[in-house]
Amino acid sequence: MSALDLASAVRSGERSAVDVIDEHLARIDARDGEINAFNQVTAVAAREAAAAVDAAVAAGKDPGPLAGVPIAIKDNMCTTGVATTCSSKILEGWEPPYDATVVQRVAAAGAVMVGKTNLDEFAMGSSTENSAFGPTKNPLDTSRVPGGSSGGSAAAVAADFASLSLGSDTGGSIRQPAAFCGLVGMKPTYGAVSRYGLIAFGSSLDQIGPFSKTVVESAALLEVIGGHDPLDSTSIDQSAFDLTSVLDRGVEGMRIGILRELSGGEGGVEGLSADVIARTNEAAAALEKAGATVVEVSVPSATLGLSAYYLVAPAEASSNLSRFDGVRYGLRVDAPTTGEMMTATRTAGFGPEVKRRIMLGTYALSAGYYDAFYGRALKVRTMMLQEFALVYAEVDLLLTPTAPTTAFRLGDRTADPMTMYVNDVCTIPSNLTGHPAISVPFGVGDDGLPVGVQLLGPALSEPTIYQAAAALEAAAPGEGSLS
């Protein structure tokens, strides 16, 4: 049953929210020991919140558009009184005294949080293997990773632990796990969803977005979490999107470009597997069949995304993560002086990938290297924006694969950081440009695992993106062998 069907059943009184939540909690109980999607299941609070929804329904009050819908929240978003860890030892046990704006908004819409989901520590990773609390497994094949960094949120929806979930996407951390788990995953325009209460990784890249099984659920959740927030200076000053009403408009007359550099074209990024490229081409054909015009386009600087990203994101992260120093919250490892205490705490509290990125970012910002690295990467962002603007003068949206491959095996890519980083090659450009992008399941790979294709659009083109995503969903081949 979709989140929207559940909500309408709860709103009409046909189903009790408490029952809905209990059903999902039971599923979590039965299977999360194996999957490890959650860092914490908030069963008691969830039942209380569900009871409040039922009471509202009984009292004839509007319980909100997502009434009684179980939702999982990535454990890098602050939840009052509920431990928020970023899957890091350095924050273990920290209970924020405040809610992230998105957490408030989903609760106000009647959704019920069932737990906080696992992630790569501080959202740094593409497989959810870099968690202090152990890896999350892909519910479709538990020998595989769910992708990352929002792997727990993806797995929670794929395993029916929750109808919806929230992830954060700095370089692909929503879209790539959505592709690996056969879900719809959306990274909205930078500034479209408030970052207040999201524990920062790369502040100029981070965006929160929805996971769901269908496009319409994704649109409904983005409508709830989007819109201006005065607590986030980078929040765009406009009201929430209207997305659900445009989904049935089709792609007739739409111009869609296949982005050569990220879709296996010549001179583009390497390492895209043949089955993923094939599904992307089939998706293009399906859109064409549905009435869109499909052309091949080129954005040469898209191939520079990976390099620019792995300078910008770690640089910002190195500063964002300075505050974890053992003084005010979280872990402290005692030492004779404050300076030594800070070093001991950070050394013990951060995992290897986080340390690697802090080191890289500190280096990129340090005296003598700023111009060569961070400053230069910001200029690459400008070049990319200019080139994308030229392309968007010709086409409405772009199509690429979401990830180079289907879900890989646990442990396959942990030895060499670069082999992990290239996972983000197709998703990173949208973070650098701040543009919206969605991953929609489209068939399966040779291994029978889902393939995701990605639709990219210019800033605030969410309605167009969802319109095309709905058409892709409708045209997608039948269910894969595993789902």
Partner: protein
């Protein structure tokens, strides 16, 4: 201005630049809605943002920006589009382990400050930044390096500051002190800070170096911190300059370093140099957007600019012939409005200013009005009160006694002008001595009568050295002519 100051040996010249931190008198902090005030109860003026809790975000206070621009304009600066930057360093009172400040694009640049004696000191920049919290060192007599532990209070964290950086244009200790008092007067005049050095809302660091007289080189400078009063500033600069001269004389040279002024010991001591002090890894604060003041905003600030101390001094200078330092003192105390009013009401300008300077050096003089002061000065001029009596009456006027009415106060003390029979004898003698004048008084037209009344009054004042009561004289003349 210091009349004589112990100077360096003639062959050496002092070179000083000042960095003044000023707390802005906004209601709330720079990036959050916490109250901006002093509180003895630690950590009660805090929120997620100013304690640097994970997930929190800054939003800029519009009043702080306005105050900063107003200060910039008062210092003759150009206002530029600006960005906030992060200055990264680890210290427990810096809640995020970076300070949000302005770096290469400050709001205000290229201004100047004119000292009371006309000397111009260039202003390099006046930029916006946040204050840090406060650490208290426990044990070891409160000294940082002997403490057994320290306590951190974040009430002050995030309080808006403007740092005003002067050019190294200051050549004497007197000018350094004059710079600080002039700056304080400006801050008070434009009402952006209470500018109290003793309470830390205005903090002065001095960059001190020396060079051979006549040379225009800039030699190694030392930054002096922990200067808590204008007096300390003078002592600290003097000490430091002599230390440099001694070093050079001995064939040595100072090291560029930060030194702490020890007021009690009357000396500066080197701080432990920090290994990474000059690698702050500045980069643009991604959680804030640029400031871009419009020409209209700047024009509005200029239009609302009050008359600044320099112009107020000039005005009093035009009206009087007292020494400059009298005017400087009166303007510094903010008593120039009172003086101007009294002068406009007809009181003698030099007497008004001298009285205010000598006899109104009190904190609260709000009970004295321009009218009452003018009346007092006229009583003095008219010989009703002796100088000693005026001083006493003015003191009681300031204290608000007898409704601040100088006549009532004088009467209450029985301060009377000369006995009337003595006065009558004098008048009779004058009539005999000046028969022509007397007949013009008795028989002349109104103009003559008035002129001659002035003549006789003047003669009597001359004879009584101003002790006679002018009104009593007028009365007597009237009686004699009628009678």
């Amino acid at each position: 201005m210091t009349a004589h100051e112990p100077s360096l040996p003639e062959e050496w010249e002092l070179v000083v630049g000042l960095e003044v931190h000023v707390e802005l008198a906004t209601k709330t902090k720079l990036f959050c809605g916490c109250e901006n005030k002093f509180s003895h109860i630690p950590n009660t003026l805090t929120c997620p943002t100013c304690v640097g809790l994970p997930g929190s975000l800054p939003v800029m206070n519009e009043k702080a920006v306005e105050f900063a621009m107003r200060l910039g304009r008062a210092l003759g600066c150009e206002i530029h589009p600006s960005v906030m930057a992060r200055k990264n360093y680890f210290y427990p009172d810096m809640a995020k382990d970076f300070q949000t400040t302005q770096y290469d694009q400050p709001t205000n640049a290229d201004g100047q400050l004119a000292l009371a004696d006309g000397t111009i000191v260039g202003i390099e920049r006046a930029h916006i930044e946040e204050d840090a919290g406060k650490t208290t060192h426990v044990g070891g007599g409160g000294r940082i390096n002997d403490a057994t532990y320290s306590l951190v209070d974040y009430n002050r964290a995030g309080v808006p500051l403007v740092e005003i950086v002067s050019q190294p244009d200051i050549r004497t200790v007197g000018h350094a002190k004059a710079y600080v008092s002039e700056l304080r007067d400006i801050l008070l005049a434009i009402q952006v800070s209470d500018a109290k050095m003793e309470e830390g809302s205005m903090r002065v660091d001095a960059n001190v170096s020396v060079r051979p007289t006549g040379s225009d080189e800039l030699r190694t400078r030392c930054e002096l911190k922990n200067i808590n009063s204008v007096r300390s500033l003078g002592r600290a600069i003097e000490y430091e300059a002599r230390r440099h001269v001694d070093l050079y004389t001995n064939g040595e040279a100072p090291r560029q370093e930060t030194r702490h002024w020890d007021e009690e010991g009357g000396r500066s001591t080197a701080g432990r140099s920090k290994e990474d002090a000059d690698d702050y890894r500045y980069f643009q604060e991604p959680d804030l957007v640029p400031l871009s003041p419009t020409a209209a905003q700047i024009a509005e600030i200029d239009a609302s600019m009050p008359v600044l101390p320099a112009a107020r001094r000039a005005r009093l200078g035009e009206l009087s012939s007292v020494a400059d330092e009298v005017i400087v003192t009166v303007v510094e105390r903010g008593q120039d409005g009172l003086a101007l009013g009294a002068i406009e009401a007809g009181a003698d300008a030099d007497k008004v200013l001298t009285r205010i300077q000598n006899d109104l050096a009190v904190d609260d003089w709000s009970a004295v009005t321009s009218e009452s002061l003018a009346m007092l000065i006229q009583m003095e001029t008219g010989g009703e009160l002796t100088a000693t009596q005026v001083k006493q009456v003015l003191g009681e006027m300031a204290a608000g006694e007898h409704g601040g009415d100088p006549k009532v106060i004088a009467a209450a003390h029985g301060f009377e002008a000369m006995e009337s029979n003595e006065l009558e004898t004098l008048v009779d003698q004058l009539i005999v001595d000046h028969p022509d004048e007397w007949s013009r008084f008795v028989d002349g037209d109104d103009g003559d009568r008035k002129k001659m009344q002035g003549f006789f009054t003047g003669q009597i004042m001359k004879a009584t050295k101003g002790q006679a009561d002018g009104r009593a004289v007028a009365q007597l003349l009237g009686q004699k002519s009628a009678g």
